[in-house]
Symmetry: D2
């Protein structure tokens, strides 16, 4: 019944309201195009939508988020059985100054902004609006909505705000850091791993066994001895277990690559608390090709060799063939 | 002149206003007790105070912050030459509901809260104040200040708010996650490394050379072959260098421990972009003792042995002593 | 036909003549008991007997031999396709002084001895027969045969000589080194790997790929990451390839132990010149138990976990069962 | 007194008699040219000459010897305190057929030969002298001396025999293996390490601590993390300690190379039974250059960096200089 229901459900959840960076990330996901989107209040709510079948996918921030939620995302991935990453999406962090159409920069005295966004644009504000006052907003979109309330002249918002509200952008790239970007992942409960595309990554979470000194290095060796490149690693203290760590790790390659499957087997053996978060196409170019020595062909050749070690009868058959 | 000025400066900067978790962390630092504190707007501003000599120290969040700034802190540590961590402080994340004295919970209709704090208390709010409306605040302290404006009945604040404002707490532990805590570090420009206490940690940032496959494992082996325990590792993309990573790493031990100094030498040799952030007392117990094989005594014994390999003349002198 | 012939052939070859340490080793092999034994002149001849079907097994020295042949044995194992070690046997190196019955030590003036054996007993000879003269013999048995020629009073021989010749031993343990022993292996062409006994070792020869720096360490990590203990390693220059090495390696464990098979797969992938020499019961106690983390059970559990990662339909079936 | 005596002693000991491969190796050592040479009976005797001051050097076989002694050499190096390798010398193993001048091959019926040499030439003998009989000799030189006794027509000897005896060589390259060679080392008690030549190797013997699982890999990592190439490794059971091993290891590089000294320090710390056997010029070309990352310059730069971490006062001095 739930499975049937799930098939009919097509919602995607994201940290709302409309106009957030998270929504911009969701707009990059082809599978969400044309489907209903649910704006929710925070990451746990988005994940819960997926777990309880209200949505088939949730877009959550996993790295460098301006809208918060990275820690919540990591903890949700570590503690929600069955959750899988379906794809990753990267959104540059850019802020604009939005006004009611016609307002000029010199007329601005009060700026509505989410406190975190406000903190990211201080340098620009100090230079261009040294005398402004700040009105806090609950989100990067709510700030623009406040333009239509009394006493607000400008709002700090993402560039996409003009798709949602009748506002005008009179300045852009207000943020201090011009290369910042947030990485998001789209998560679902569907366990079918997508086919390899040739430029995939695999995400795992490993909680190291506490009784095993050197376990981190042992874990990393399981990865490196298969010639696999690691693109991210973050340690996180395990809640309620002082001194224990789990590691969120991204690997180059796909579960269907023999070297990746073999590395997961190697980690799983000494480290039963291994969570497979998914294999999915990575954003950006793959910088390092896997060594030929760790190709699927080599795995197959090695297995064939191992099998041949005991193929005694076959060999004896050849030896005793009529032609001898 | 600057040095003299610095001696007279005793300010400590922190993310204000008074009443933030960052201020609570600063209150834990013995060296800041009784000195003037400067509340600033964000992490880069706090760090800049130190760099430019306005303060001798800045308290900044380095892990799991509710007030933002972790990424900014890591980037400031990576890009500010000479910055040193002087100590670490851990503050539990706890939120209370503050009201004007006499207000009862059932009278509350509007709640002022920093959007991130608000997001952390949704479960409690849904249960106890299902019908409230949210007024965003620019900080966890500004929310309480709004109690004295029209239309606000309650504010979400840290428990310390009562030290700063004449408010009453009518509920506590509102946060969804009851074990959350933020780790802060106190940074300064003073290069003198504090004496070892026996329970120290050492923080470094390593930017791996891009032309060296397996460099991460090589770096970690430099640590593990000296028997050093790693307590945190986080990869961060290097701004403007796609595919390059720097790693923020915490090690058990002090720069004055021979094994730690030797590991830094080992990393520095193949990885010139190594930043030493400091050795300082760690919070909490040390869970793993360093192996005897990596003790200072062993380092000294090995060096004496190496020196003896060429002490030919000394041996011949003994051999040709009068008694022979 | 060859196969049929082989079944009827029961010979065992060894470095003769009767009475050598190699024959003593062959006497330890249960499968050779009661079968015809062929004394041959050297290790290559013994191996050739097996390759060409004249014998089912050959006993050859592999470590510390007093009778020569270790290098020849290693080279034969490396260059003879299909050769397999069936078992190992350790014989202590002990020399006696044999005489014609009735001869007394003080009557001995000429000692027949194989030059290598003679070199091992110089201390005893200098003490007990300071004035003797040495007559070289072609083997440790030929020396005793010379007792029945004119001019030889005594012979240096293994203790087993009395089983072959009517001689008397008037002194024993003549050898300078009282703990020396030779390790032998029994080799054959039978590819069927014997069943594990719980105290097995596995021998391999690995020729490292020349284009891969760090290949030796990579090879050893394939062994160590599976928790396998290595009991012997010897590098040997590859004939005609200056600067290339092959390594003769003994591992604790059996090919049927999942961790050993997996390690061989790992080595084989980057190092195609891997020769499996056999899994066979080891002599002596096993000193280190394999870690539980590398047990067959863990390998099976890890594989089951890997398989479950894509068992989506099975899980959905459960989810959509009638009871829901 | 001993030191003075030593200065006057110039003897070099070798496994005699004149004409052995060991003597041929000694002829390659420039420092032995023109000095008196002592022919001794075996490796321990040669080493004892050095220990007790009768010789300044002893040439002993260390790999692949046709004249025996490799095991004895390794054990002497492991158990003789103060012994140092001064140089290595490689001699190809070639055997000739020597006769009294005028004898023709077809006249040969009896061949004198050391049994080991005889074993190495069986193929040639089977082809060219199928009906000969073998008379054992005590060395590869004694065989030729027997030509002047009744009943011996030919002798198997090294090519250099004509320098010592009035014999004629009527066939050469009799040995089955045409690429065989023996590696010798010249050992002494002089602890002064010779200056680096740029193509040096360093030999050590390591007895692993028994209580430390994974000690072999840990030892090898100390070598590999400094970018050092290992050119030989051989495990040897420790006499009287079942299950314990020592490893004879050759490294590319010289004790005066910072990376080699640092690797020895690293091994020495966890493995006190480390014997330094010497740094000396290697035979043959160096195939792999050490990585720049492990150059002396990098070691120096890293140490300077480490020192600078605490050079607080120096920096403050600069900061407070009059010009500021």
């Amino acid at each position: 019944m739930i499975a049937e229901l799930r098939e009919r459900i097509e919602n995607y959840s994201y940290l709302g309201p409309k106009g957030t960076f998270t929504e911009a990330a969701l707009a990059l996901a082809p599978e969400a195009a044309g489907k209903p989107w649910r704006a929710v209040n925070n990451v746990p709510e988005a994940v819960q939508d997926v777990v309880e079948g209200r949505s088939v996918g949730a877009m959550i921030a996993i790295e460098n988020s301006i809208e918060g939620g990275v820690t919540a995302s990591q903890d949700a991935l570590a503690s929600t059985p069955g959750l899988r990453i379906r794809g990753e999406y990267v959104v540059p962090i850019r802020f604009c100054l939005a006004v009611r159409p016609g307002t000029k920069l010199e007329e601005v005295t009060t700026v509505a902004a989410h406190p975190v966004a406000y903190g990211q644009c201080r340098r620009w504000l100090a230079e261009h609006l040294p005398a402004h006052s700040h009105l806090p907003a609950s989100s990067n979109v709510a700030s623009a909505e406040q333009l239509f309330e009394a006493g607000v002249d400008a709002a700090i918002t993402p560039p996409t705000i003009t798709e949602h509200l009748p506002v005008e952008l009179i300045a852009s790239d207000l943020q201090d850091n011009h290369t910042a970007q947030t990485r998001f992942v789209l998560v679902g409960m569907n366990q079918q791993v997508p086919e390899p595309t040739g430029r995939d990554k695999t995400s795992i979470i490993v909680e190291l066994p506490e009784d095993r000194p050197g376990a981190l290095l042992e874990m990393l060796e399981q990865i490196s001895t298969r010639g696999i490149n690691m693109t991210m690693i973050t340690s996180r203290p395990v809640p309620d277990k002082p001194g224990n760590y789990r590691f969120v790790v991204d690997l180059d390659g796909h579960l269907h690559d023999a070297r990746v499957a073999d590395a997961l087997l190697g980690i799983r053996r000494f480290c039963p608390k291994l969570i497979f978060l998914g294999s999915y196409p990575r954003v950006g170019v793959v910088l390092k090709q896997a060594d030929l020595a760790h190709s699927d062909e080599r795995f197959a050749a090695a297995r064939a060799w191992l099998a041949s070690l005991e193929a005694e009868d076959a060999q004896d058959d050849r030896a005793s063939s009529p032609s001898v």
